[in-house]
């Protein structure tokens, strides 16, 4: 269903999400975000291999926004496929989260945050 890898880069954590996130697998995204938020001040999330996300997965992202802001942890998401991007847009999440196209842009954005 979903495979999540977290890689510690120089000054940020990179979370790679592969597969599908729904109500049965969102707990794994939650665990990865929790772990990263406790160990770094910069998080990049690579969604280029994410094929599907439902409200359970979106809810995980949304639930961390306030906490990360308070802890001054930067979060940038990149690589969304069009069908996944559309779901973020239906909720207007592009206004609440930092979403860019490429990893290069994401690295730049998280270091400027």
């Amino acid at each position: 269903m979903v495979k999540i890898d977290t890689i510690s880069e120089e000054n940020y954590h990179l979370i790679q999400v592969n597969g599908e996130i729904d109500a049965s697998s969102s707990i794994e995204l939650d665990a990865a975000l929790k772990e990263a938020s406790e160990n770094t001040s910069k998080i990049l999330i690579d969604l280029s291999n994410l094929e599907y996300i439902s409200s359970a997965g979106l809810g995980v992202f949304i639930s961390y926004l306030e906490e990360l802001k308070k802890k001054e942890v930067g979060l940038v998401i990149f690589g969304l496929k069009e069908k996944v991007h559309e779901v973020f847009e239906i909720l207007g999440l592009q206004h609440l989260m930092n979403i860019v196209e490429t990893k290069e842009e994401a690295v730049k954005a998280v270091n400027e945050a």
């Binding site: 949304i62 926004l65 906490e67 909720l91």
Partner: protein, 138 residues
Amino acid sequence: MKHKLSISCSKSNLLKIRHFVADQLVSINLSEVELHKLVLAVDEVCANLIIHSNHCNPTKKIDVIIDLIGSEQIQFTIKDKGVSFDLNKYQEPSMNEIVSSGRKGGVGLILVKRIMDKIEFSTEKNYNICRLTKNLEK
């Protein structure tokens, strides 16, 4: 033409439900983005019914029926016998409320309402029925 899937109330069955919906809609040439949205809306309703109405009890079942009405409309009917949902009592929260509360749920029904043209909840012969209608662009 109607297609029906009857499946037990386990979260792990959501993937099968999504495959069923996608397979049945293959014939109507939707874009990948549109197909993904319709699959998502059905998944959201089924996840709510499995988790909240039937408490993930695998001895309970839900039925998903897809009705292609010509080339103009698709109707999804989702039936279960769990705790019924009262749409009239549902107040859509704002995104600001959801973000500031830090909670993980609350956006599923917002997605369904924004994707579908019509959502109806009713009760007939001991079944709770959720009917989702999507008008297709010609």
